[in-house]
């Protein structure tokens, strides 16, 4: 269970990104965070695995205090939390295989990295992970030779290598076209349901939110302004959505039914 209490983040330039945010995520939930650009979604996700240090507040995950974790503890915490990014954040000049294998960094001895060594088991695991996202044949390609959708699948495979109990997805489909968006979110849903991985995901589009979320949090200017269960969000009309979300809310034109 992920528990966030009174989380506040003020950047060095004085920007208040998060203000007194509290919520909990139960095991196995597919939580979607919605909100405009700049509403604090990315900061919230990055605070959870301490890519960003929160200014105030407390984050506990299965009774481990993440905010107070030392460097060594943080390493163990982070390896249990996979993360995928809007810009995929692959190392373009490295092979797909290497990119996926970096997911094991939290488990292997850091000194092995000097000779770029990963145990045989990890390599096999990488092949399995790539197979799961359907791009095993791309293993030896350079990452920058892939298309956007393939890159995000590599990103998922990399997160899978961590054996994660939780996945943070920072707008995973914002750089992809609608059809691919469903494919990628489909993978996340599968992981959520089959592997019981908790997913915390930020998204933009209402029908994607309605389709995948088991719970929704709405952020606006760093504060939580909406919390809704699966049923509540499914009943939401466009008008209500706009009220929560601001005027720029969009509905995506292609649903999973539309493409088949």
């Amino acid at each position: 269970m992920l528990k966030i209490e009174n989380l506040t983040k003020v950047y060095d330039d004085g920007t208040v990104a998060l203000k007194d945010v509290s919520f909990t995520v139960e095991e196995g939930e597919f939580l979607i965070v919605i909100g405009l650009s700049g509403s604090g979604k990315s900061t919230l996700l990055r605070c959870i695995n301490r890519l960003i240090d929160p200014t105030e507040g407390k984050i506990t995950w299965n009774d481990i205090d993440i905010t107070e974790a030392s460097e060594g503890e943080l390493r163990r915490i982070r390896r249990g939390i996979g993360m995928i990014f809007q810009q995929f954040n692959l190392v373009d000049r490295s092979s797909v295989m290497t990119n996926v294998l970096t997911g094991r960094c939290g488990y292997v001895n850091p000194l092995w990295s000097l000779i770029n060594y990963f145990p045989r088991k990890d390599r096999e695991r990488a092949h399995t992970a790539l197979e799961r996202v359907g791009i095993r044949e791309k293993a030896s390609n350079r990452a920058d030779a892939l298309s956007g959708g393939q890159k995000q699948r590599v990103g998922i495979a990399r997160a899978l290598m961590q054996d994660p109990k939780m996945l943070l997805a920072d707008e995973p489909v914002a750089s992809l076209d609608p059809v691919l968006a469903h494919t990628i979110l489909g993978y996340l849903e599968k992981l959520n349901q089959e592997d019981k991985i908790t997913v915390v995901c930020s998204l933009h589009y209402l029908d994607l939110v309605q389709r995948y979320a088991t719970r929704v949090i709405g952020l606006r200017e760093g504060r939580i302004i909406y919390e809704g269960s699966q049923e509540e969000i499914r009943r939401l009309t466009d008008e209500q959505f706009k009220q929560i979300y601001g005027e720029e809310a969009q509905r995506m034109s292609v649903g999973p039914e539309g493409i088949s």
Binding site: L51, G82, N89, L90, D92, S94, R104, G106, Y107, L114
Partner: protein, 713 residues
């Protein structure tokens, strides 16, 4: 303001123009365009100064007051002329030349007219002021045009001031054009550009240039098929001396017989009149028939010359290959300290065909060898420089360093640990090295030991003391004690830094103006003052912050390494070479040191900038998997920086080989050293070989490095 407003016609402000007439740029500044006004003022002040300075350069013209007055007069007159011509131009444009084409032509005519009129009218004025025929032409014209251009800028500034508004700035093209023209006119005088001289004296260069351009004669060994015979003569002839034995005619080889073999030298007085010495009978045989025989006189120290004016020194051999002639002993100079018999040699020589042997001459071998030394010097410096600059570049990359943070408390503990660890490390290293004889016995091992123990000890204790103190402060000590420890610790650190800076201040500043005794006297005092200031400052800082506030220690390291690299880099490799020569003596090692130091600084900067410009995304991604710092660098940073690193390394290798040829000039070894020696000995052919080798190497390197870079990037 919209674009439409900007194009609207405006009213000219006469007040601003008037102000700018008095003080250039003032009108613009009043209108709110401060930097524009300042630029105009600086420009006009600079050109005024340059023009006056140009005039004052004349050795017979030391009176600056007169120059300034003359210049002001010049300025006013030329301004008047310019205004007059501009008015004329305006009238012509309004009445006669109304079509664009004729207007353009008129403009050209008026510019030419302005130049001519200014030159013609102002030259007499200058002549009367300067009154020196020879140089007044060149200096005078420079002065006139400098003044004219300055006046033109001044007038432009007056007109410009009328139009400038807070929200509107007209084009500055005219200022730029006039400024460049003035720079060329005045600059050519300041740098003493003299085209006629360059043309006049080119011919002297030709002979040297020829040798440099085609030096290959001396690059190879030629066999000379000369027919030579020698005879020995003693001169002067002291009483009782008989001289060397007289030669006998020989059968199979050329011979020459001189009688007598002992005689007196000719003497030449200061007017060049010659008092002839003993006349020699010279007979020879065994030479090639009908071919020219040359006589050479070789003095006792081995210098040979053609004895002109002492008899026939160049004549054909007979049909039998013999000759007979007479020659006075020439006025070969003999060292006044020479002792014993002075034996000269007469050489009869017939120059034969020179034969190409294909062997490299010693000079060529030397040049090739030194070229190799030079190339290796550049490569070694690059390799060592790369190895050392890579870690430094990581330390001076802001994006990597700014993530290194620690609490104030840990920082205080860490600094003390650092010093203590370094000190303990040095003691341990000294103990160990004493056991095998120390620096004298094994210098490299000792060096390595010291490095490992001091660095290792410092880092280890930094970590231990830092985390230790932090743990104590958080878990064991009351908050007030922890805060107190932080304040005291910071004060001590501040005092230490302040003390060092204070002493450095005394050494640096007082040593310029005062005696060493004074520096010795003052440095403890400035040190104490610095320590006090540092302690108070840092204590106050510690007081204001909480002991567990985070500070970015990485940024301290970043700033420190960056500044150090920048200082090192701004000192030219030539200067480093001079330092290297003082350090280890002339030779390739000094050059290597110079190049390496500069390479470390230059590559450190280039590398760190490459690191700073990488995509932060992959770093974030790799960190989020639980990777530690090393893994993040290996998997997220290195792949991204590899291409620019390779490109910069090859670029630097290229530069280093070029520089290593230059560094030799100041004594850094290699081909440059050879080149400057040959030039100083006037051996231009050999110098030509060096120049050719350098050119070929640099061109080849250029090509190769471009190829490699093209493949990698």
């Amino acid at each position: 303001m919209t674009d439409l407003e900007a194009t609207l016609p405006r009213k000219r402000s006469f007040l601003q123009s008037f102000l700018s007439l008095l003080v250039p740029g003032l009108g613009q500044a009043i209108a709110g365009a401060y930097s524009r006004g300042l630029a105009i003022l600086t420009t006009i002040a600079t050109f005024t100064g340059l023009t006056i300075w140009t005039a004052a350069q004349r050795p017979r013209f030391p009176d600056y007051g007169l120059t300034t007055r003359a210049f002001l007069l010049l300025l006013l007159e030329t301004a008047a002329i310019l205004i007059f011509i501009a008015a004329l131009h305006y009238i012509v444009r309004r009445t006669i030349a109304k079509k664009p084409t004729t207007q353009a032509a008129a403009q050209t005519v008026f510019i030419v007219l302005a130049i001519l009129v200014i030159a013609l009218i102002q030259q007499p004025l200058l002549d009367t002021i300067l009154s020196e025929e020879n140089q007044s032409m060149v200096y005078g014209l420079t002065l006139v045009f400098g003044a004219a251009l300055t006046a033109a800028i001044w007038l432009w500034n007056v007109s410009d001031a009328g139009w400038v508004r807070r929200d509107y700035a007209p084009s500055m093209n005219a200022l730029i054009f006039l400024g460049i023209a003035a720079l060329i006119v005045l600059g050519s005088r300041v740098t003493q550009v003299d085209l006629p001289k360059a043309i006049r004296e080119y011919r002297d260069t030709e002979i040297i240039l020829q040798r440099i351009v085609w030096p290959w004669e001396s690059a190879f060994v030629y066999e000379e098929n000369n027919v030579v015979a020698e005879a020995r003569i003693q001169a002067p002839c002291p009483p009782g001396a008989t001289g060397p034995e007289v030669n006998e005619p020989r059968e199979d080889e050329p011979w020459v017989i001189v009688t007598p073999t002992c005689g007196d030298l000719s003497e030449r007085d200061t007017q060049g009149n010659i008092d002839f010495g003993t006349e020699l009978d010279i007979r020879g045989g065994g030479f090639v028939p009908d071919q020219t025989v040359n006589l050479r006189w070789q003095n006792p120290i081995g210098n040979a010359f053609k004895p002109r004016g002492f008899g026939d020194a160049e004549f054909p051999a007979s049909e039998e290959g013999t000759f007979e002639t007479k020659l006075f002993i020439p006025d070969a100079t003999i060292s006044s300290t020479a002792q014993g018999d002075q034996i000269h040699t007469l050489i009869a020589i017939q120059t034969g065909e020179r034969e190409f042997t294909g062997q490299l001459s010693n000079d060529m071998k030397l040049a090739l060898q030194q070229m190799l030394v030079t190339i290796m010097m550049g490569m070694m410096a690059t390799l060592v420089g790369v190895v050392l600059s890579v870690p430094l570049s990581f330390l001076s990359a802001r994006n990597l360093m700014s993530s290194i943070k620690s609490t104030l408390q840990a920082f205080v503990g860490g600094v003390f640990g650092l010093v203590l660890g370094g000190w303990l490390g040095s003691i341990i290293a000294a103990r160990i090295s004493a056991s095998y004889g120390g620096l004298e016995a094994m210098p490299l091992l000792t060096f390595a030991l010291n490095l490992i123990f001091i660095l290792g000890g410092a880092l280890l204790l930094y970590r231990l003391a830092g985390t230790g103190l932090e743990w104590l402060g958080q878990r064991a000590l009351p908050e007030i004690v922890a805060h107190l420890i932080t304040i005291i610790g910071l004060a001590v650190v501040g005092a230490a830094i302040g003390y060092l800076l204070g002493i450095a201040f005394a050494r640096g500043v007082f040593s310029i103006t005062s005696t060493p005794e004074f520096v010795e006297l003052m440095s403890p005092r400035t040190g104490a003052i610095g320590a006090a200031i540092g302690a108070i400052f840092m204590a106050y800082y510690g007081f204001r912050r909480q002991p567990f506030d985070e500070i970015t220690t990485g940024n301290f390291i970043y700033v420190f390494v960056r500044v150090t690299l920048n200082i090192i880099r701004s000192i030219e490799p030539l200067i480093w070479a001079v330092i290297g020569i003082i350090w280890v003596g002339p030779g390739p090692f000094a050059g290597f040191i110079a190049l390496t130091i500069h390479t470390i600084a230059a590559l450190g900067k280039l590398y760190s900038e490459a690191i700073e410009s990488i995509d932060p995304g992959p770093i974030e991604a790799v960190q989020s998997t639980g990777a530690d710092r090393l893994q993040t660098i290996v998997y997220a940073v290195v792949p991204q920086i590899l291409p620019p690193f390779i490109a910069f390394t090859i670029y630097r290798w290229d530069i280093n080989v070029r520089l290593s040829t230059i560094i030799g000039l100041v004594g850094g070894g290699g081909i440059g050293f050879l080149l400057i020696q040959w030039i100083r000995l006037f051996q231009y052919e050999q110098a030509g070989i060096a120049v050719w080798l350098i050119t070929i190497t640099v061109a080849a390197l250029d090509f190769v490095s471009a190829e490699i870079r093209g493949r990698f990037v």
